[in-house]
């Protein structure tokens, strides 16, 4: 009843090409943005913002990055952790060498370092496909992990091999370091993630997105249509790694406040991959949904059972999280390979005809 396109005719191709052609969708997005930018900082408590919302946004950004590469272009990558790490360490080096430049600038610039390395490790994709490419990305992951420990220059020769985020300001407000407030950091992350999501959406709805999906679905036909495979794949690696790099920088600078090499291990790669599998490969919305589910699940498990009177060890929570995550992956692959995003779409379809059954 509410969710109808009846009466919404498009009279120009331009308006039909809009990303949210249905009015109700546009209103929905505005509401979400209003809640995110206004309601949550005003009414949410520090714990909720810092332990739930900020990391959720950061992992959504990383998920978008991986989704662009794996979901849209079909190149399975297990190197996400490493690419996130490059962003973080690049940002650290840049801001310690040039402390006067605005930290936001460095966060964005560090994405380019990730992109460069991503392109380098993406070169094999010309000859290697599918599961073999995944192995090649494992090489990237393990090599980068090794670099984060064994190249002391990266962490400024700190004895503990860890990096600590220095305090930085934006327009006089402290945004990084121990004295930055949860709301400030959340709003910075939210802004960056919103802008980058918008850009990602523009890319995938245009020529480049179509090229990527063509390469994913049938690269032979794409090639015979004139799409050059290597530049297309390398662009996917570049953009994807850029997003992951920025996410890594945000992770360290605006959330953790520090890092050691174990933060960007193969587990991160798998976590983000699971987020996009469950959320929906090839869907930006899916990146958010998957990040929400995988990230919030352990938090729910940690806090809900005690409320219900069932005490659980922290370790047990972790074990159960693993089991549920694994089971969810298998479940989604069986029941709905297109993930939560597809379930959402089906839900919207039903909403379209509601209250009628069909």
């Amino acid at each position: 009843m509410f969710y109808r396109e009846a009466g919404q005719f498009k009279t120009t191709y331009a308006s039909d090409e809009a990303i949210f052609p249905i009015l109700q969708d546009r209103i929905g997005i505005l509401i979400i943005l209003a809640v995110a930018f206004v309601v949550i900082p005003a009414f949410g408590n520090d714990f909720f913002i810092n332990a739930v919302m900020t990391p959720f946004l950061i992992f959504s950004l990383a998920s978008i990055g991986l989704n662009l590469l794996t979901g849209y272009t079909g190149l399975l990558s297990l190197g996400t952790g490493g690419f996130m790490g490059i962003g973080a360490y690049a940002c650290y080096k840049l801001t310690t060498i040039f402390p006067d430049v605005n930290i936001i600038v460095w966060i964005i610039v560090s994405g380019f370092f990730s992109a460069a390395v991503g392109v380098l490790f993406g070169l094999p994709s010309l000859r290697i496909k599918g599961f073999y490419l995944a192995i090649a990305t494992l090489a990237a992951q393990f090599f980068l992990e090794w670099c984060f420990i064994r190249i002391p220059w990266l962490y400024n020769y700190n004895v503990s091999a860890a990096i600590e985020v220095p305090q930085r300001e934006l327009f006089g407000v402290i945004i990084t370091g121990p004295r930055a407030t949860a709301e400030t950091r959340y709003l910075i992350v939210l802004t960056i993630v919103t802008v980058m999501t918008w850009v990602a959406s523009n890319i995938v709805h245009g020529r480049i997105g179509r090229m990527w999906m063509a390469v994913r679905d049938m690269d032979i036909a794409a090639e015979l249509m004139g799409i050059r495979l290597l530049p297309t794949k390398l662009l996917a690696f570049a953009v994807s790694s850029f997003y992951c790099g920025v996410a890594g920088a945000l992770l360290v600078f605006l959330w953790y406040g520090g890092a050691e090499s174990t933060v960007f291990s193969i587990n991160e790669s798998f976590t983000v991959l699971f987020m996009i599998i469950i959320g929906g490969l090839g869907s930006l919305l899916g990146s958010f949904l998957g990040a929400a589910l995988i990230y919030i699940l352990p938090i729910v498990l940690r806090f809900v059972p005690p409320e219900l009177g069932i005490p659980l060890h922290a370790a047990t929570v972790e074990h159960i999280t693993f089991m549920i995550t694994g089971a969810l992956i298998v479940f989604f692959l069986i029941a709905e390979p297109a993930g939560l995003a597809r379930l959402w779409q089906i839900g919207k379809q039903k909403l379209r005809v509601w209250p009628f059954p069909y």
């Binding site: 191709y13 090409e17 179509r210």
Partner: protein, 266 residues
């Protein structure tokens, strides 16, 4: 629709010629020393029993396979090997035997994908989906809609192609090839698996493409009725060798051709 650039080829001149092309995979010889030409504006049928090397021949023209011997002359330029990108930008488009559509995309997106070679707005505008990028998107959408009208597939433009019935998928695939504004259109068994009505529709489309857009067409086809009705000239392959080349009537009466189809050992 004519692909821009390249030397002008007048109607009736040779648009594409293959000379002494041989192709093998390991020990199997798919095509042996085959030569024929395709004249601009005509509909050329390539026929022959199964395994004759017809699809391999198209793949060589397309640049997907590189022949071990022989040359391909396209629009006056001779190549020992054709690369897929050269073929595509030179104006060769094709459809596939087993509908090679992009299953994750809608019909509209598939056909829009065919416009990729013609879209040049740079990366920066793509990021913003504004200005030149948006103008280009709309401009190409307009062209694609013309094709959608021509093929009468308006209702299904937003349907993911995986969900379409086979006949419609073949039509979308034709649309995607047309979106490239090809000078030479290679159709690999466009009528395969269709019933009589669908074949009539598809034949009508093929003839219209040739008439209205002036596109030269090479098609592989098994249905003799279709071949007789549609084609201007026919080349017959059997076991990788050319056994006949001429008008449909001439080829129909050729004893070697009849033997090949009936499976007479020679």
């Amino acid at each position: 629709m004519r692909a821009p650039g390249g030397p002008e080829v007048a109607v009736g001149d040779v648009l594409l010629a293959v000379e002494n092309v041989s192709l093998s995979f390991g020990g199997v010889k798919a095509v042996s020393d085959v030569s024929f030409d395709i004249r601009k504006g005509e509909i050329r049928a390539i026929i022959g029993p199964n395994g004759a090397g017809k699809t391999s021949m198209l793949n060589v023209i397309n640049g997907f396979y590189q022949p071990q011997q022989g040359r391909i002359t396209f629009k006056g330029e001779t190549h020992a090997k054709m690369r897929p990108h050269e073929a595509a930008s030179g104006g060769i488009a094709r459809t596939f035997q087993n509908v090679a559509l992009f299953r994750g995309m809608t019909a509209l997106d598939n056909i829009m994908a065919g416009r990729t070679l013609k879209m040049h707005s740079n990366f920066f505008w793509q990021l913003l989906r504004y200005g030149p990028a948006m103008r280009e998107e709309v401009q190409h959408r307009r062209r694609v809609e013309e094709i959608i009208d021509f093929l009468k597939i308006q209702e299904i433009r937003r349907v993911p192609v995986g969900r379409l019935p086979y006949g419609l998928q073949k039509r979308v695939e034709l649309g995607r090839a047309l979106a490239m504004e090809p000078e030479l259109l290679l159709l690999d068994e466009p009528m395969a698996g269709m019933n009589i009505e669908e074949k009539e529709d598809m034949s009508r489309f093929v003839l219209d493409v040739n008439d209205y857009y002036g596109t030269t067409i090479a098609l592989i086809e098994h249905d003799m009725g279709v071949v007789m009705d549609l084609s201007d000239r026919v080349v017959v392959l059997d076991h990788g060798i050319k056994i006949a080349d001429g008008t449909p009537e001439g080829v129909k009466g050729n004893q070697a051709v009849i033997d090949a189809y009936l499976g007479v050992a020679h």
